[in-house]
Subunit: 519 residues, 2 copies
């Protein structure tokens, strides 16, 4: 009887889970095993990890992005050249922002991999995960300390201490998970080789904390070496990933296909959970969009006494002073919203996110996080100044790279299109041209604006923002344009292309069920 009750609650939670994340076919196993094992603990109940992961994604994405605020809020002197202040700014604040963003995404990737192994949680694991999150929130602060006091060991020691404690907590989670196998993912649960997996996963997890231990020891001897070790920790996963991919492409060797890894066991080329990549990206886009309104609310409400004295109590006249800010706000919001929209359209057609795609996604998001800086720059300078021109150029560069890395995600996916893309956007697919147009719209617009700023000696930020606000209409017309261009191309080059076009799609359709079975 007691066993029935226990299965009842687990079944209930797993039902929820099924609706959200998991494929239903492994259920039978996990129920039986978890019922059998959790009975030992009496009251303890197993839960789906879905919401815990969503909350972690939200937290991590906000932490990653939040360090742009000190960058954006730097006050620029109006008389000095923008370039100089930018250079002073680049050395510390932008570096802190980018370092934070990259290290937090490294931590996030580790978190994904951990919870691809631990599939179900209980209260203890939830609390351990929260402790982990708390330490991750401290990382930006340690970077601020390092940037302000580069020759002091304290910043680096704090950072290393945080990373080591996070590593220990993650190791505890793994040990706890393996001691109650019904928490694990079903493949590991069913495999007879759990001890091997446990050792392998612990080795991977402890690699970074051990490097940090060395870094903290070397910080007393030769601090530059510590920084080099830290740089390796942060950048090595990215660089090695890029190099490996380029190497594979150059040699022509067949890459480890994502589906050749049968299940998630910390294999270096296992795909990232697509759902979590989306959740993390949503978090970044959302926080960036709302950082702007915060500034509007804080800075652009005039003081009642000023309105009385300077504007004869006419609020509208006082608010007209803020015209450029409003325009900049709407322009920036539209840009962020549409970059999200492009990202959303792309990931609708992505079936699997490889690690390289995740890497380009991170780069794209790092530039999206820079948009509040663009917003501040473009409304801060008086009209017609040279600074204004440079502010527009910087904005263009930020938007260009944000869009370009989105395009890079798709191009990367095209290289392994049979595993990673839906047939419609593959080469020759029906939406292929349209997706290309969607993804290349922002890089093109940014490049065009940049070219304009080079040709014209003066370029008003208002025109720039009006242009930003006009882009949605380009998106609405895009489908029409693509069809016209495609029709023209077909008419010019191959008038009978129409029949050919549907054949490859048909072929790929037949392959799809195989892919679905593999995933």
């Amino acid at each position: 009887m007691g066993e029935n009750d226990e299965s009842e609650i687990i079944e209930h939670h797993d039902d929820e889970e099924m609706e959200k994340t998991r494929t239903p076919r492994y259920h039978a196993h996990s129920f039986l095993e978890s019922v059998a094992s959790s009975e030992k603990d009496g009251y303890s109940s197993t839960q789906s990890s879905h919401r815990l992961l969503a909350y972690s994604d939200a937290l991590i994405s906000i932490i990653a992005t939040v360090m742009i605020l000190p960058v954006a809020h730097t006050k620029f002197q109006d008389n000095e050249e923008l370039k100089q202040s930018i250079q002073a700014l680049l050395t510390t604040k932008v570096a802190v922002y980018l370092m934070t963003f990259l290290i937090v995404t490294v931590a996030w990737a580790a978190h994904i991999r951990l919870f691809q192994v631990i599939k179900r949680i209980d209260d203890t694991l939830a609390l351990l995960n929260l402790a982990c999150m708390m330490l991750i929130t401290v990382l930006p602060y340690t970077f601020s300390l390092m940037a302000t006091f580069p020759s002091n060991t304290l910043g680096i020691l704090l950072f290393c201490a945080c990373v080591m404690v996070i590593g220990l907590i993650q190791a505890t989670i793994v040990l706890y998970g393996f001691s109650r196998p019904f928490f694990l993912n079903d493949q590991i649960q069913m495999s007879g080789n759990q001890a091997y997996y446990k050792r392998h996963i612990l080795e991977v997890i402890m690699r970074v904390p051990i490097m940090c231990l060395f870094a903290s020891i070397f910080s007393f001897i030769y601090i530059q070496l510590s920084y080099i070790i830290l740089a390796i920790v942060i950048f090595l996963p990215y660089i090695s990933q890029c190099l490996k991919w380029i190497w594979n492409k150059a040699i022509g060797q067949v890459e480890d296909r994502p589906d050749s890894v049968p299940f998630y066991t910390y294999h270096p080329s296992e795909p990232l959970s697509k759902e979590r990549v989306e959740a993390f990206s949503d978090g970044v886009y959302a926080i960036v969009a709302t950082l702007l309104i915060l500034d509007i609310c804080k800075d652009n409400v005039p003081d009642p006494s000023v309105v009385k004295e300077e504007f004869n109590d006419k609020l509208l006249a006082a608010l007209q002073e803020y015209g450029p800010e409003y325009l900049a706000y709407f322009g920036s919001f539209v840009t962020i919203g549409l970059l999200w929209f492009v990202h959303h359209s792309l990931f609708l057609h992505v079936t699997k996110a490889t690690r390289l795609m995740g890497l380009f996604n991170t780069f794209s998001l790092a530039f999206v996080g820079g948009l509040p800086l663009a917003y501040h720059l473009t409304h801060e300078f008086p009209r017609g100044s040279l600074n204004e021109l440079e502010a527009v150029q910087i904005s263009c560069v930020i938007i260009f790279f944000a869009g370009l890395f989105q395009l890079a995600i798709w191009v990367t996916a095209l290289f392994t299109q049979h595993e990673t893309l839906h047939p419609y956007v593959r080469y020759g697919g029906r939406e292929h041209a349209f997706m290309l147009a969607k993804l290349s719209l922002y890089p093109c617009v940014a490049l065009g604006s940049f070219a304009f700023t080079c040709i014209l000696s003066r370029f008003s930020t208002s025109i720039f923002h009006m242009m930003e606000i006009g882009v949605p209409f380009a998106f609405i017309l895009l489908r029409l344009l693509v069809r016209v261009v495609l029709a023209a191309l077909r008419w010019l080059f191959c008038p009978v292309r129409n029949d050919l076009d549907s054949v490859p799609v048909e072929e790929e359709d037949s392959q799809l069920p195989i892919n679905d079975i593999v995933t």
Copy 2:
């Protein structure tokens, strides 16, 4: 052939959707209908609305919470009494925060209801939704204007204009959705009475914009009346909901059961989407937790020149000055994390969120949003001052109400426990006592601390924060404690209770399948 292709992509997207939100049983219908209808548009593809809604939830939750920052960042004069500054603060900033929070949650509830009708989207709907989001972000600014210039009509006009445009966009979404019925939820799609539903939904949607139209007209004649109309717009849904519930309970009449509404058609007592309530709550908890680290990073990195002059280049000594801030940060983060944890535990066992439960959830979140204020107050005042005592008291009140409204969600759910709760936490269920203990822990701790502050004339904030950090251990021990207490109670009152206990659970188990079929 073309039709096959179209069904391919829709099937793919619906597969994703199935994994995330929907029950699979309606698929066959929607496929056929959407294929048949979307073929007309050629390239246009239907998409799952899941990610759009997740992004909207993230945006709305951040906007709702972000107005706490001006409240928290108010500088308190050290020599004046806290009470006075609090009173000055209450009149404007807290009011703006609460108004923003409530109106944004009203907009969010409307958004939920809208997208319970519109189940699938295309690019046009996604762009319309983004436009809607952009206008929602402007609402906090209009409130700031209203609070700063209460006698000026401009704030109220801007607010009304925003609400009316949002209403128009939502009406456009509904009209667009009904013109392509494959976007609608399956029940409306299958019903023959679409014109009736369309009219009904449009009427509900346009109610608020029309009230705002009146408010904007009256603002020229008699501005107080406009404010009254606005107050009705904001509070009426909440008040009417409460009154109705109390009335039903008082009369003893059977309430409209959530499951007596067969499907989502803007019926006033239809349940809220549980998934979206969770997503919104996660967003609020995440942004509140990270607002704190932002302040730490901005304010608590000492200036290099100060360190050199005042602390002989000893960074550690300089950082020791910030000790109370760190303690306050960890204390606040732990509190927020655990309140999330309690919320998470509760909603694991909630099967359906009625509107009254959503209302209490909103109140709880509004107090959670006040925690950054508690953080600022508790580290801002010198030790041993009267202000310190009051800061702790205010923190206790905020935590108490945040916890109390969580408890209220559960108590409300217990009244209709057969529809809204999982058998385990129902009255007599196995986890009932444990859930009660979990939910009442924070209110009890807060009440206890408050009592201490009244008894003792001085109460250090450090002790308060140490206490906050200690609460997780209480959670770990809670299960043990509850078992001990229950065992003691059973041993005292009914030694044979053990057998009785499992019988009601068993009974409810048999009822569960019926509930599942109804949902």
